[in-house]
């Protein structure tokens, strides 16, 4: 999807740790100086807390068929005439409490987003380090693959991976495999940017004196990569990861909305919106509205944080 | 002295940062007579380019003129409205930048860039403007200008491009040309040619020149007077022969000692120990005091104003009459 390239100023002494640079860039001061960023940060925190503690907050468990009754289906929200006091945001066609479903959906969406970003980051960082450090043929093969993949939009890759993995797991229960399929789809769609950034930084770092010195005293390449080069590329990686988290959440929601993500029995925010869309014309507006607002607010908050982080770590762009 | 063409008084330039304003230029004062060539020397970061940019009104934010005044033919130009200042740029003050490779728009033919400049400042017809562009190119020494005028910048060598840049700066016959390191980015072999072109054209077009460079050799050959800058201040200003032969300010002495001599032996500037302070860490008193071989207590407390010594001025307490006598010249030679 969107192409972000991130670079940190290269003039810093290489021995300075990432944390040292964070402190140096007045990260906290710049965070507090922007009201929008503080609100975005607070919102993100609330979303994460809500996701973690969903089972404690939610009145019912929407994944448990025994706690949902069809007789309660399509109840409007509590604050609307005709609303039922038990259901803060109303119910869906299965009689599930929408408030509970959103909390659980948020949990699922964030989990998949975080795991997808972690997988993509792990693949991308590893390949980027290898490509940058090894150079030569290995480098050109990895980067060629990255180039070709980059010409395809991430959502298309995710859809393809989704289709292929589904075909390979044919006969398995969709409810058990959906989570893994989504994480793999997202991970394989979003590794390229890490790889490119990390490769670029690795190429720079590997010729630095301290890396040459480490090589001379006989440290293994793996150790040099992990101990010396990796810490120096963490800044850009963190920025990419934050922005990719927003993209991953969107991708999961989109796949679920398209009907190839999470099944209606264990809905994510995207699945809830897919269900709600069917009731748009019949007047049950709440089923689509509340999950949509939640999703939009979540992605916006994470994006704002990502934007701020990029600017704070990259003074050149200010 | 004739009425000055340009008069700069107590110019002060600041950069607004999150931690408060940083003073980049402080108490810059000098006059420039019509047709005169003033050399400005100093290390990188001494404020040479900023002085030029401040005069032509092209300081980039967050930089701004925070004090003092700049007069062109007696008229203040440091507080003009943007549109009025724009009319002065190009027509009355021209500027040449360091890198001819990046000074020209790569997507436009050099003829188009010349013609647009001429049309901006004169009432010539496009056809006449083109003729004038060709004659300017001839003047700066571009061979076959009728043909080359339709070339793109990348089709010219670095030296040729800088000639085009000089032609561009002279389009509207400005009375003052600010040349900011016009030869630094060029091959040593063409540097002298470009300086010669600049000098000849300035004379023919009666333009005064502020020649900014860190190359004392160029100044010695080209300029009438020279200003030595250090840490955003003028350390010494005076006639070139005097300043080169007998510098007064200890910093200027160090700088002159670094000029390559005919014998080809140049002492390194590094003979002044230490480095120029950052803007955020300029010491109190004289900015040069931590590196100065002649430093004494007063230099650490009180900032020396430009003190007149003959036709020169030097900002150094050594020359504050009645306090200390100038040291013997042997100390540096």
């Amino acid at each position: 999807m969107s192409e972000i390239s991130v670079e940190l100023p290269k003039s810093e002494p290489a021995s300075r740790s990432f944390l040292g640079r964070l402190k140096d860039s007045d990260l906290l001061a710049s965070f507090l100086s922007s009201k929008v960023t503080v609100v975005a940060g607070a919102l993100t925190l609330i979303f994460f807390l809500a996701a973690v503690f969903a089972p404690l907050i939610a009145p019912t468990n929407p994944f448990d068929p025994a706690s949902n009754f069809l007789i309660d289906s399509l109840n409007p929200p509590r604050f609307v005439t005709g609303g039922d006091a038990r259901f803060l945001l109303g119910t869906d066609d299965q009689g599930r409490d929408l408030w509970s479903a959103i909390l659980y959906g948020l949990r699922v969406s964030l989990l998949i987003g975080v795991f997808g970003v972690l997988l993509g980051g792990a693949i991308g960082i590893t390949l980027g380090l290898i490509a940058g450090y090894a150079g030569g043929r290995i480098d050109s093969i990895i980067m060629r693959i990255a180039d070709v993949q980059l010409t395809f939009p991430a959502i298309l890759i995710a859809l393809l991976v989704d289709g292929v993995v589904q075909a390979l797991l044919k006969g398995q229960n969709r409810e058990q495999t959906a989570f893994g399929i989504l994480v793999i789809s997202i991970g394989l769609s979003f590794w390229v940017q890490y790889a490119r950034t990390v490769r670029g930084s690795t190429l720079v770092e590997k010729n630095r004196d301290y890396v040459q010195a480490a090589r001379l005293i006989g440290l293994s390449p793996a150790r040099i990569l992990m101990r010396h080069i990796l810490p120096n590329v963490m800044g850009p990686v963190l920025v990419i990861a934050t922005i990719n988290l927003a993209l991953a959440i969107i991708t999961e929601a989109t796949l679920s909305f398209l009907g190839v993500g999470l099944p209606p029995t264990q809905p994510s925010l995207g699945t809830l919106i897919r269900i709600g869309q069917n009731f748009l014309f019949s007047g049950e507006w709440w089923i689509v509205t509340f999950p949509s607002i939640t999703l939009a607010a979540l992605v916006l908050a994470v994006n704002l944080l990502g934007d701020w982080l990029r600017d704070a770590l990259n003074p050149r762009l200010k | 002295m004739k009425a000055p063409l340009l008069s700069v008084k107590d110019l002060r330039v600041e950069f607004i940062t999150r931690r408060g304003p940083l003073t980049a230029l402080d108490g810059i004062s000098f006059d420039l007579a019509p047709g005169e060539i003033l050399g400005v020397v100093g290390e990188s970061g001494a404020g040479k380019s900023l002085t030029g940019l401040a005069i032509i009104g092209l300081l980039d934010p967050p930089g701004r003129i925070a004090g003092g005044e700049i007069r062109l033919n007696g008229e203040r130009i440091d507080n003009l409205a943007p549109e009025a200042m724009r009319k002065i740029r190009g027509r009355r003050i021209g500027m040449i930048f360091q890198d001819p490779l990046t000074s020209l728009n790569p997507l436009l033919r050099i003829g188009d860039q010349l013609v647009e400049t001429i049309l901006t400042h004169t009432s010539l017809t496009p056809k006449a403007a083109r003729a004038r562009a060709i004659s300017l190119l001839t003047e700066v020494g571009i061979p076959a200008p009728e043909k080359r005028i339709d070339g793109y910048p990348h089709e010219f060598s670095g030296g040729m491009r800088q000639r085009v840049v000089i032609a561009l700066a002279l389009c509207a016959e400005p009375a003052l040309v600010i040349a900011d390191e016009p030869t630094t980015a060029l091959d040593v072999s063409v540097q002298a040619q470009i300086i010669a072109v600049l000098k000849r054209l300035a004379r023919e077009h009666h333009a005064a020149v502020i020649l900014i460079t860190h190359d004392m050799g160029v100044i010695a050959e080209t300029a009438d007077r020279v200003a030595v800058m250090y840490a955003g201040r003028i350390a010494e200003i005076g006639r070139v022969e005097e300043v080169v032969r007998d510098p007064l300010h200890p910093y200027a002495k160090g700088l002159m000692a670094a000029i390559p001599t005919l014998e080809g032996r140049a002492a390194r500037l590094a003979q002044i120990p230490g480095a120029m302070p950052r803007l955020s860490a300029i010491p109190p008193g004289c900015a040069f005091n931590p590196r100065c071989p002649n430093v004494f207590d007063r230099c650490r407390i009180e900032r020396p104003p430009p003190l007149p010594i003959g036709t020169r001025r030097a900002a150094c307490w050594l020359y504050d009459r009645g306090e200390v006598t100038p040291p013997a010249r042997e100390t540096v030679s």
Binding site: F152, G270, A296 | K87, R91, N105, L107, L108, H121
Partner: protein, 326 residues
Amino acid sequence: MIAFIIRRLFASIGVLIAVGLIAFLLFRYVGDPVNQMVGIETPESERVALRQQLGLNDPAIVQALRFLGHAARLDFGISYQFKQPVSELIGARMPATLELAFVASILSLLAGIPMGVYTALHRKSALAKLFEALSLVGISLPTFLIGILLIYLFAVTLGWLPSFGRGDVVHIGSWWTTGLLTASGLKSIIMPAITLALFQMTLIMRLVRAEMLEVLRADYIRFARARGLSERKVHFRHALKNTLVPVITVVGLQLGSIVAFSIITETVFSWPGMGQLFLQSVQNVDIPIMAAYLLFIAFLFVVINLVVDLLYAAVDPRLRVAIHGA
């Protein structure tokens, strides 16, 4: 120049072959083509015969070459779910998608470039801040949400625009259909096109803004100012042109991805295009369609890349010479 184009063509063919091989791997090894084509009761002997007939027992390299050969002649086999030739299925839906993508591209360019220029030139103005806030929302709102929002506003609440389908279409020639010549077709394309364009518009705006800010810091801009050129000339004659050169590349590729992104928009608006077909093929593991669609997108990108290269050379004199020299 010609040598350059030929070199690019060879590189493009390389990419197509690589993608083609991936498509072949999908086709051959993900799921069993024979199982997909016959019923459960089909006797083993018939399966073996079919396997032989399809050449599935040949060496993999022979099968791969055969697959590529067929693909080059636009023969992608028979869809598992529709039991029709894939090329016919895709061909019938192609006009709808391309038309939608075309209108969306125009929209995103016409809105995105001026907004980007404006926000770069007037960074502090209220309108620029509004544009930037909108762009952040545009990037944050998933496409399908924008579609649903539009449907809710203009179809459900106001009843102005149709919420699904393509309206009436007119045949042009034997193959192409267009909705752009009928009132209902034009009405139908408004919301899908806006939905599809919004994300790209946001990206183009941000890209133009960033690029223009970069260009405005360039030496030749400062020199243009030092020559006393008017701000108008500096901005629109010098800065804009230089901004648009690098933008061409990215925008070209973005427009290519519009076709792929239309999968989502087509689903929201039940637009009868290739995207919907592809989505159905993913849901039903209809590998021949997935493979063909993948190749189609790759082909599209290759074509766009070539066009972008040529455009680039037309705009930037430096490259013209580099190409001549090569």
